[in-house]
């Protein structure tokens, strides 16, 4: 219990003290996970929309695969991306292993199945409600997908937020492909892992609380955006 109280005090002191390393680490976490979510959204939303709206052979197999990949452990994703980016791997010549770019790649791979599955689920409801009406207006599959994405844009924001939460909280993938290099690829979660292994538990917990607060602020910001957009506060935070 005293560890927790120590950590709360340390957390407040760190946050108030404006330690530059801390803020640089937090900023890197936000950048890596934020970029990964945007890239992952590009692929994930497209895939999710296609799975919702189109009919093509092998569709059901693909849906099962996507749903299974949802549960992929982040450390496995990290390992696979490492093998891809290693000098001996197919993409080794770009030399992006152990840089923030590699972390962005790994986290993008991590969130694509999540975004795809959630987007598909989001669209299926609207599709049931109005798919045939859009069809009667002359919309083919691509137009239907586009219109429903616009229609569901606030729901999609929640999907992206969920993906962001998953990305910024994971440590397995970024540890392996980033190497936890001080000042280059060290993010909040890998710092917490490092401090834990050094036995500095109060500091590790304090950093954890700070990370949680950062994610909390992002959630609140997006929630406010949605509230102004839909004017139904309860729905916005759901």
């Amino acid at each position: 219990m005293s560890t927790v109280i120590d950590s709360l005090r340390t957390a407040v002191a760190l946050a108030a003290g404006g330690d530059p390393t801390l803020w640089r680490t937090a900023l890197l976490s936000l950048q890596v996970s934020g970029t990964a979510c945007l890239i992952g959204a590009g692929f994930g939303i497209t895939l999710g929309a296609a799975l919702a709206v189109s009919r093509f052979p092998g569709q059901h197999a693909l849906i099962v695969i996507v749903n299974t990949l949802l549960g992929m452990p982040s450390v496995v994703v990290g390992l696979l991306v490492y093998l891809l980016l290693s000098r001996q791997g197919p993409l080794g010549q770009y030399g992006i292993l152990f840089t923030p770019a590699a972390m962005v790649v790994a986290q993008s791979v991590l969130v694509v199945p999540l975004i795809a599955a959630l987007t598909r689920r989001q669209l299926l409801a609207s599709l049931a409600e109005g798919g045939d009406q859009l069809q009667s207006l002359g919309a083919g599959a691509p137009a239907t997908a586009l219109l429903l994405l616009v229609h569901e844009r606030f729901g999609l924001l929640t999907v992206l937020l969920t993906a962001f939460g998953r990305a910024i909280a994971e440590v397995g993938a970024v540890m392996i492909v980033g190497g936890n290099i001080d000042g280059v690829t060290r993010v909040m979660t890998t710092t917490i892992a490092l401090e834990t292994s050094k036995g500095d538990l109060p500091l590790a917990l304090a950093l954890g609380l700070i990370l949680l607060s950062v994610t909390g602020v992002v959630n609140v910001a997006i929630g406010l955006l949605q509230w102004r957009g839909t004017r139904t506060p309860l729905q916005a935070f759901g």
Binding site: G130, Q133, H151
Partner: protein, 244 residues
């Protein structure tokens, strides 16, 4: 009102049928739709009215033959639009919902503003152009759906129980808008369970039961004494004993 036999047909169905899996929703349908008609379908729930509408509009896979004939004298394919019992409106403004319809049809962008404003005026929603579509009342939403359809300048308008979910006032508004615009330029095909509405709006009535077309008569003859199949007679009696 034009006599069914006199003009060339727009859509013909020959021995057409529709199945959903093991269920046969429609079978053996022979029907010809003529320009300027106001064709109303009646029948019990589950008789296949909605399916027949969608089949005529071209939304369903089917057996048998469905043919769309070019308009005379214009020589082009007829433009179709459909109204549903509960209109699906996007989370956009009123005018954007109309513009989406124009975009989907491929109308050139420069015409969008004028045609959508025009259509909204016609249905009396001109002042609400920027409102969120989903905030409108039931009657207003159906009027928006009508505007969306009118903006496309359709030759054939399909309506699937368009006033079933509306209160009497809204129902009257919608009916008024439909009758105001129907004419030699706009052919109507409508389904309804409201027989008085059928009487008010139709030029020709068909009766469906269990996926089969059992009666097809001019409106006067349908409601006044012509020899009808038993199912139709029972249906009429059943309905008319209730007061609306």
């Amino acid at each position: 009102m034009t006599a069914p036999g006199g003009t060339a047909p727009l859509i013909t169905l020959r021995r057409a049928g529709v199945s959903f899996g093991a269920t046969r929703a429609l079978q053996g349908i022979d029907l010809a739709l003529h320009r300027g008609e106001r064709l109303v379908m009646v029948g019990p729930n589950g008789s296949g009215k909605t399916t027949l509408l969608r089949l005529m509009h071209g939304l369903l896979a089917h057996e048998g033959e469905r043919r769309v004939h070019p308009l005379q004298p214009e020589g082009r394919e007829p433009v179709c639009a459909m109204l549903f019992q509960r209109p699906f409106l996007l989370h956009l403004s009123v005018q954007w919902n109309v513009r989406v319809g124009l975009w989907l049809q491929g109308v050139p962008r420069r015409e969008h503003a004028a045609r959508s404003a025009d259509a909204l005026e016609r249905v009396g929603l001109g002042g609400l152009a920027r409102r969120r579509a989903r905030e409108l009342s039931g009657g207003q939403q159906q009027r928006l759906a009508l505007a969306r359809a009118f903006a496309l300048q359709p030759d054939i308008l399909f309506l699937d129980e368009p006033t079933a979910s509306l209160d009497p006032g809204a129902k009257r508004e919608i009916e008024a808008l439909i009758t105001a615009t129907a004419g030699p330029e706009l052919t109507l095909v409508m389904s309804t369970h409201d027989l008085r509405q059928a009487r008010r709006l139709a030029s020709r009535v068909i009766f469906l039961d269990e996926g089969r077309l059992l009666a097809d008569l001019e409106v006067g003859r349908f409601f006044e004494g012509a020899a009808l199949p038993e199912a139709a007679t029972r249906f009429l009696k059943g309905e008319l004993t209730w007061s609306h």
